[in-house]
């Protein structure tokens, strides 16, 4: 794009460069903050994931045992009865401009419950272990989602920082240099013209 080498353009470009420098610093700070937060979240996610994997595996084994110890009809009846009702609250919080969902679950027993004779002891153990696991699963869902969203935001912010650092700021610097050189050249030409005129008059 051709640049108009005028004082007005020089002032405008200088203003843009100052603004770009400020934006660059702010975005760099944001990126660093996001990275710190991201590392904390990933560490939590790793620990939580290991715990959940272990508990889930144990819980599913309990359910396999429970299914094996019960009649298939009883299992089907239980599934159709659904003895628990789940309700989930989803709230959103903002973390450095990123909207993150947080989940909270509540499990309520329904009025219609299967009789004691219809369920096995293994099923009670399995259900108890699953109910311990459920809040952890939701916590993990929150943490992993946060990590995902923060990673996206870090990527975007990093691109913006790089665009400012390696494209816009050097371009503005070059433009300022070019305008200054042109203005200096014009000034020198004006002096030369004045001197030539003076010489002719004298």
């Amino acid at each position: 794009m051709p640049i108009n080498p005028t004082r007005m353009e020089l002032l405008r470009t200088k203003k843009r460069a100052t603004l770009a420098k400020k934006g660059h610093k702010l975005l760099k700070d944001k990126r660093d903050g996001l990275m710190q937060e991201f590392l904390k979240i990933v560490r939590d996610a790793k620990d939580l994931r290991a715990r959940v994997d272990e508990l889930l595996s144990a819980s599913l084994k309990h359910f396999v045992l429970a299914q094996a110890s019960m009649q298939p009809q009883a299992v089907a009846l239980l599934q159709s009865l659904r003895p628990y009702e789940i309700s989930l609250s989803v709230s959103q919080k903002a973390m450095m401009g990123v909207t993150i969902p947080t989940f909270a679950v509540s499990l309520q027993e329904k009025d219609e419950q299967p009789g004691v004779w219809e369920t096995s002891r293994e099923l009670d153990i399995a259900l108890a272990s699953f109910q311990t696991l459920l809040p952890l699963l939701l916590q993990l869902a929150t943490v992993e989602k946060t990590a995902e969203l923060l990673a996206q935001e870090i990527e975007t912010t990093r691109r913006r920082v790089n665009a400012l650092e390696y494209v816009l700021l050097p371009q503005l610097k070059t433009n300022i240099k070019f305008i200054r050189m042109k203005l200096d050249e014009q000034e020198r030409a004006a002096i030369m013209t004045t001197m030539a005129v003076k010489r002719k008059i004298a």
Binding site: V90, A141, K145
Partner: protein, 109 residues
């Protein structure tokens, strides 16, 4: 704060969803990964579920599509390990996320 009436769903292999269904979670059992992906797409479009658990064996062939579906704040699609055939896909996902964000997996040892 939003309250959703049928908020959580699980997609897993046949016979693995008993714990989820007894706890009031909507369960779809299938052995077909493409059908699992179809459910995910449909639920995402309808906006019915806030959290969708999916067995990693079913998720493994469709990871790229699941990553795209999981880009928005909701729903949160979470991979669950299959105890009979653990693939550690979720752990690998977390690793890739780190590489995407930071450039390397600094927790790898």
């Amino acid at each position: 704060m939003n309250q959703t009436s049928s908020p959580i769903a699980y997609i897993g292999p046949v016979g693995a969803g008993l714990g989820f269904s007894l706890s009031g979670i909507h369960v779809e059992e299938t052995a077909d990964p493409s059908l699992a992906l179809k459910y995910l797409r449909q639920w995402k479009q309808e906006g019915v579920y806030s959290i969708i658990f999916i067995d990693e064996g079913l998720a493994d062939p469709n990871l790229e599509s699941i990553r795209t579906l999981n880009e928005d704040a909701l729903p949160s699609i979470m991979l669950l390990p299959n105890p009979s055939n653990p693939k550690h896909t979720a752990a690998r996902n977390l690793q890739q996320l780190m590489i995407r964000a930071i450039g390397s997996d600094i927790f790898a040892s």
